[in-house]
Subunit: 411 residues, 2 copies
Amino acid sequence: MALIVQKYGGTSVGDIHRIRNVARRVAKTRQEGNDVVVVVSAMSGETDRLIQLAHQAWENPDLREYDSLISTGEQVSAALMAITLQSLGVPSKSFLASQVRILTDSAFSKSRIGKIEVQALRQALKQRFVPIVAGFQGVDKDGNITTLGRGGSDTTGVALAAALKADVCEIFTDVEGVFTIDPNICPDARKLTHITYDEMMEMASLGAKVLQIRSVELAKKYNVPIHVRSSFSDKVGTLVTKEDKKMEKVLVSGVTYNKNESRITVVRVPDKPGTASQIFTPISDAKIVVDMIIQNTSADGYTDLTFTVPKTDLKKALKLVKTTAEAIKAQEVLADENIAKISIVGAGMVSHAGVASKMFGALAKENINILMISTSEIKISCVVAGKYGELAARVLHQAFGLEKGELRKEA
Amino acid sequence: MALIVQKYGGTSVGDIHRIRNVARRVAKTRQEGNDVVVVVSAMSGETDRLIQLAHQAWENPDLREYDSLISTGEQVSAALMAITLQSLGVPSKSFLASQVRILTDSAFSKSRIGKIEVQALRQALKQRFVPIVAGFQGVDKDGNITTLGRGGSDTTGVALAAALKADVCEIFTDVEGVFTIDPNICPDARKLTHITYDEMMEMASLGAKVLQIRSVELAKKYNVPIHVRSSFSDKVGTLVTKEDKKMEKVLVSGVTYNKNESRITVVRVPDKPGTASQIFTPISDAKIVVDMIIQNTSADGYTDLTFTVPKTDLKKALKLVKTTAEAIKAQEVLADENIAKISIVGAGMVSHAGVASKMFGALAKENINILMISTSEIKISCVVAGKYGELAARVLHQAFGLEKGELRKEA
């Protein structure tokens, strides 16, 4: 008998009909002799509806209230899932984060889980209930409701699996697994049967929307196997685990594409110690995530500093940067929203120096100009003009032979 | 400086525009030097939407899950109200029942408040926040979310006013106060400036939908003045207080009309001790509220027993009664949904024997047959065929001269 945490995303619980399908799968998993803990997201569209209400009330809503508001989406789907399971004769009980208790810090709208108390869930399992946990939410030490950021239900699922020492965390979504490239961009996308935590983290952080990156970090830390699969079929999906010696070391596992970043350039920054810190401290204090940072060698005592921030934070970041730019007497601040970032990811990349030049060559052949480059041990990212983004992704997918093997065109 | 609890109903917070209007009124009340605690209902339509979802999931939803589901409506409006007040520069903070703590029993969907802890609210007031409390909801000793029954936000408001020793509980609604009759039935309806708790309780229990009856019971118990008024105007509404010697003792204060009851008749019940108890115990155990009960004198060792239950409980009640009827060998069980109850209410009625005959005479003059009669110290109720209900109400309103005086036709 295994203990399985199953997390169902918004499209999987999008309406009562789909909730019923999910409930049948949960019932089946239990009939097969397993203990199941279910984590649910809000019904698709619901979180957006609530966010819109918040912004109608005020463009700059207080984040404590914002979290209390948007956490209701998961509360609704957890109760509906419990009721539906009961209608199938399966005893079930919903749990809010405050009832489990999933304790977080007080960084509203992007809280981190500190501790999960598992007694209530263990007790429910012992009494043969299927616990349904509202994903995405937490509670801080003062009893305030917090949320874990977009896609936070994945983190709820993995954190629960870790705390309960579950055998696997199954993440049910509307795709059949992790693909070598977004199938919407490239019809030759191939489903991966295995991927390592590190590769998955790069894929997630680079724009493959399958899993929230923090959930993968957490899975790696506690060595929780994640099985990413579709709630609309019974097919095996993609298993995310630590690196296995037996795994074939592929050079490049996938290509990702991200058009949610924007670029800020501070022109002619006086090149002296401390200026970079002066620029980035206020941005980091505002909890804006900076992705790529590039600074060219200084020639005449001045340098240009370029970096990327999420488009949603551009306005806020620009305001902060302009203030700093004035203070440090930089010439001007430029912004560009029309960019795309394309990356190749692969655990085998580290030992192959030729991967980068192959990437640049493939882009050059299509006359796609590279605006920024950034590398890590298992990925290489290039920023290009937004209009070339999808083309660049397809070109790279082909250049590294990812379309070969079993094609999953039905996806 | 007064401490005022203001409760706003669903239509008063029906959309962001209305929430903003309410927030302005709250801000004004505070600017006038008062401390304000706000209680909000769900946005109009939201509770019905959630109930519909529950019933789509299962026609017989588990009430623990049902409460967790439908309590989200108030959570949403509390957060939106806090955000909107903040946007007007008024510090504000939302509170769920579990955060205040409003402790109830575990009778899900119709819980009763046992205790309210006021420390958190007092602290918030001291820090100059306007606390916004989610109405309708409570929390039991095990941390489960409960709800107080339809209209329960009124009870939240009054219970908070009592616990905080507030000077008044203002109930903002979509009408301008308590009227002598439902203005939708009779255009001659007149707004009452004062009404006693007892009269209001009879009015509420008899179908005037202005206030939840339990909120008035509670207000009477703790002597909390209630001011029923419109959130769409600044006019003074109706003050509900204990009887005041100075108040003019009117014979009849109002006429109420209720078409939500249904009638069950158990035919030829063997007339021996214990049968009534056998019939009503299972109904009461099922928490079905029985309103009128009539049993005629027995002639031949058999009697007919007639009583009314809410239409929504008719199916459940019938099933229970039929089982009992078989056990006690009654002849048959009849049900009638097409009835209406018309009542006249007035604190002065007790000393005037002629009120009943005047009522029956007025109905007879219009050839309206009376099916059941029930009386209390301050009210007389008659059940008539459903189709005569509105006519009967208008006839009585006129017979007791309620249309005289200042007419409030603008309502």
